[in-house]
């Protein structure tokens, strides 16, 4: 069953057309990755899906419902969790409060408490630092927090935007093991990444995006072997 279906999506920033008509879909339980170099439009797409960027043309349907142009805070309530580019944790609040805020749209206190314990289990370092201010965490810990915060809303679809951004290779590996675990638990994920090798390895399907257009698509394994992926990054 298709969970997310995007048709001909265009987004403009002033004079620049960041997305030039993107179409893609994510099925229930799938991990789909979108890879491409910097400035290709990956994050813009995520922001459009998450209700943070203004859509100029095209449509976004989530669970069969047209959600084009709805606001960011409404997306969460529909079941789209967003771990944004640059992490955007609430630096002046504790790790625990960040997670509480992740569950802002929920009212089931018991469920929230259970989930919090669950994610402290998955991210033990967050548990250790639960009373620390999020701004004092390292980059990797902030990334884990951003993912956990998005999960706290009990999303049906998780948007992961560049989780490896600016992280040391060892930490990147940790982030991907978390993604793998979420996948095993059946979470539907749309992952935007520069780290093509890892991203393709965890993905069921993948799209390559270059300057606002999708140039390749296929299963993760297919693209992993495709020379064109490599050249999209390092030049022909």
């Amino acid at each position: 069953m298709t969970m997310l279906a995007i048709e001909g999506l265009k987004v403009r920033y002033g004079a620049v057309e960041a997305l030039k008509g993107i179409s893609l879909s994510v099925g229930q339980g799938e991990v789909v990755t979108l890879i491409g170099g910097n400035g290709a439009g990956k994050s813009t797409l995520m922001r459009a899906i998450g209700g943070l960027a203004k859509v100029a043309a095209g449509s976004i349907r989530f669970e069969g419902r047209d959600v084009t142009g709805i606001k960011g805070h409404e997306c969460v309530r529909l079941g789209i969790g967003h771990s944004p580019e640059g992490r955007m944790v609430f630096g002046d609040q504790s790790v625990r409060d960040n997670l509480m805020l992740g569950a802002y749209a929920r009212r089931d206190e018991d469920g929230i408490a259970n989930d919090m314990e669950r994610y402290f289990g998955i991210f033990p370092r967050l548990a250790e630092r639960q009373d620390q201010l999020a701004g004092t965490l390292s980059g990797g810990e902030q990334q884990m927090l951003a993912i956990a915060r998005a999960l706290m809303s009990r999303p049906k679809l998780l948007l992961l935007d560049e989780p490896s951004l600016g992280l040391a290779p060892l930490i990147v590996r940790e982030v991907f093991s978390v993604i793998r675990r979420l996948r095993e638990e059946g979470m539907t994920i749309l992952l935007v990444e520069q780290m093509a090798n890892q991203a393709l390895a965890v993905a069921d399907r993948a799209y390559v995006i270059e300057t606002g257009t999708i140039t390749l698509e296929g299963t993760g394994a297919e693209l992993l072997r495709d020379e064109r992926v490599r050249s999209a990054y390092l030049g022909a």
Binding site: G14, A15, V16, G37, N38, G39, G86, G91, G135, T136, L137, S138, G139, E141, Q142, E162, S164, L165, G166, L167, A168, P169, V172, R173, F176, Q194, M195, A196, N197, Q198, A199, L200, A201, T211, L224, R230, Y233, L234, G235, A236
Partner: protein, 592 residues
């Protein structure tokens, strides 16, 4: 406004002033004319501060008071002539302008408003409460007024006198603002980091704007005190500060004619509504609340918006032929290491975008700085250009340590830059953007610029010609007079490079110059960078378009996770396993 139309306008104004005696105005109307003039004087200078340098002041009543009290005290207590008192009032205005600028240029936003309000209130309280010196509410009586050939001024003379002052002020400000000073003010208002990058000292520009506004405000105060022959502390209120600001903003800040519109309309409105004080205040409230919303650029903005619909002026062509920086035959190609970076370190909280980076830049070569998103490249560039101060390490440019230099001084040494998120001076023309790039090379004295002396005009004309030549050289010649923000994106990117080149740099830092460009534009950019190199400029560029990087650079530096992980020739870098891993991720995970 074209020179001819301007000359006609001034002439019409002079003629109108000459005709005043034949219009049968009574003293009430003459007083209104006088008040329009005074309000214009105060607002004209304040407009330089608010509209050009972009600084709000809510305390200019204090400067008005400085002028008025000096006019009174110099004449009554010190026994100086009214003319001398008037000059002295302007001088003291300038000094107090400096005094208020000192704290003001260090703060921005609400704190700036606070400092200026505080200044206004301190002056008001001192005037009210230090009655020994300032006579409080009782005030000074019998303030001497200027006279010519023994004839004391009648109300008609006062109108003429103020009219003359207004015209002189207008002509001087017009001359000043048309050149490098006016551009520098606007640059500071539109994009401070970009202004610094072309060598403008933000502090000095703002200070100068404060002083100019202080002088005209003090002059207005002095003239009022002398015409009244009386001045007391009731004149100076917070409301006067607000009123002066409203004159500027309602009239149209940033337009040379805004203060004129504001002074005429608000003075007349004020006189007309004086019969209904409650309505008068309501009107001010409504003007403040809604005029900004309905006319963001004031009356002048609305008028010029209408005028632009039916008027298209062809810009005058320069009568000198300029020389493009790019076509300049490269001096003996420099060699050796022009820039040496050692152990550079910068941290933000738990994030360390630059950790102990060391490298050297060789003169005359094109260097590329690459690395995945978030690797710390832009932070590194900001450290090099002086826009961000490092926490540790050293940067030596041509043997000179630049750590601790503010960005405008780094620019002065010959390091120019562009910005990842374009920082053009959007409302200014492409030509003005390039002229701002050449700011440090346009050497015009303040006095020469104010008086519009031939020397300053020549320097300006020469600079314009050179700037036009550079624009033409880069294929922007056709669009030199269009506002930067209306250019297509690709040309905006190129204009930013032109601006940086106009400063005749030794080292040019380009932050993602190809971002958002299509393949054709990217290709052209490569050509431009090659020409820059041929002109003898050393280049360091951050870029993601690998084809471009590999095609034009002779040396590649790879930054990952804040650290330099590789450097060398492009072919070697492309095969370096560490680089491949940084970009594509670790290979061992693929097997997993």
């Amino acid at each position: 406004m074209p020179a001819l139309a301007h000359a006609i306008g001034v002439a019409v104004l002079v003629a109108a002033l000459a005709l005043v005696p034949y219009l049968g105005f009574n003293d009430f109307y003459l007083q209104i004319l006088f008040t329009i003039g005074v309000n214009y004087l105060a607002a004209a200078g304040l407009n330089v501060l608010v509209g050009y340098a972009g600084q709000k002041s809510l305390g200019h009543a204090g400067l008005f008071a400085v002028g008025a009290y000096i006019a009174a005290i110099a004449n009554i207590e010190w026994g100086l002539s009214p003319w001398l008192s008037l000059v002295l009032a302007c001088g003291f205005g300038a000094i107090f302008g400096l005094v208020i600028a000192m704290p003001s240029v260090r703060v921005s936003g609400p704190s700036l408003a606070m400092v200026t309000i505080g200044f206004g209130i301190v002056v008001e309280k001192i005037a009210t409460e230090w009655t020994d010196i300032f006579k409080g509410q009782a005030g000074f009586y019998g303030i001497g007024a200027p006279s010519i050939a023994g004839t004391s001024f009648t109300n008609l003379h006062w109108v003429w006198f103020v009219g003359a002052l207004c015209i002189a002020t207008h002509l001087m400000l017009r001359s000043l603002l048309a050149g490098r000073y006016g551009r520098a003010f606007l640059a500071v208002q539109m994009a401070e980091p970009a202004a610094q990058s072309v060598g403008i000292s933000v502090v000095r520009a703002k200070t100068l704007a404060f002083v100019i506004s202080a002088v005209t405000c003090a002059l207005a105060g002095a003239v009022v005190a002398q015409q009244n022959q009386y001045f007391n502390s009731d004149f100076i209120t917070f409301n006067l500060s607000i009123f002066l600001l409203v004159v500027v903003i309602f009239g149209g800040s940033g337009s040379l004619y805004g203060p004129l519109f504001g002074a005429v309309i608000l003075t007349l409105l004020d006189a007309w509504l004086a019969r209904w004080p409650a309505l008068q205040h309501f009107t001010y409230g409504a003007l403040l609340l809604f005029s900004l919303y309905l006319m963001p650029n004031g009356i002048a903005g609305a008028v010029s918006g209408l005028a632009a619909r039916w008027r298209r002026t062809a810009p005058a062509l320069p009568d000198v032929v300029g020389r493009s920086v790019l076509s300049a035959a490269s001096a003996a190609p420099a060699s050796g290491e022009i820039l040496i970076v050692k152990d550079l370190y910068k941290a933000y909280g738990g994030i360390v975008p630059v950790r102990n980076v060391s490298f050297a830049i060789t003169a005359g070569k094109v260097h590329a700085l690459i690395g995945p998103n978030g690797a710390g490249k832009t932070t590194l560039l900001n450290l090099l250009s002086g826009h961000v101060a490092p926490d540790g390490g050293s940067i030596r440019f041509e043997g000179r340590e630049t750590v601790g230099f503010p960005a405008h001084r780094v620019a002065g040494l010959g390091i120019a830059r562009t910005f990842q998120n374009l920082k053009l001076f959007g409302d200014l023309s492409a030509l003005d953007n390039v002229l701002l790039g050449a700011h440090l090379h346009i050497e015009t004295g303040f006095a020469a610029a104010l008086l519009g002396l031939p020397s300053s005009r020549q320097v300006e004309a020469r600079a314009r010609a050179d700037a036009l030549a550079l624009l033409a050289d880069l294929g922007l010649g056709e669009r030199a007079h269009e506002p930067a923000k209306s250019l297509p994106y690709g040309l905006q990117r190129r204009l930013e490079i032109a601006r940086a080149l106009a400063s005749q740099p030794k080292l040019l830092l380009l932050d993602e110059p190809a971002a958002g460009l299509n393949p054709q534009e990217t290709h052209e950019l490569g050509e431009v960078i090659r020409r820059i190199q041929q002109a003898g400029v050393t280049v360091l560029l951050i870029e993601h378009h690998m084809d471009l990087v590999m095609g034009i650079s002779q040396h590649v530096l790879v930054l990952d996770y804040g650290a330099l992980i590789a450097e060398g020739r492009p072919e070697a870098i492309r095969r370096d396993p560490k680089v491949v891993t940084a970009y594509l991720g670790a290979d061992e995970d693929v097997a997993a």
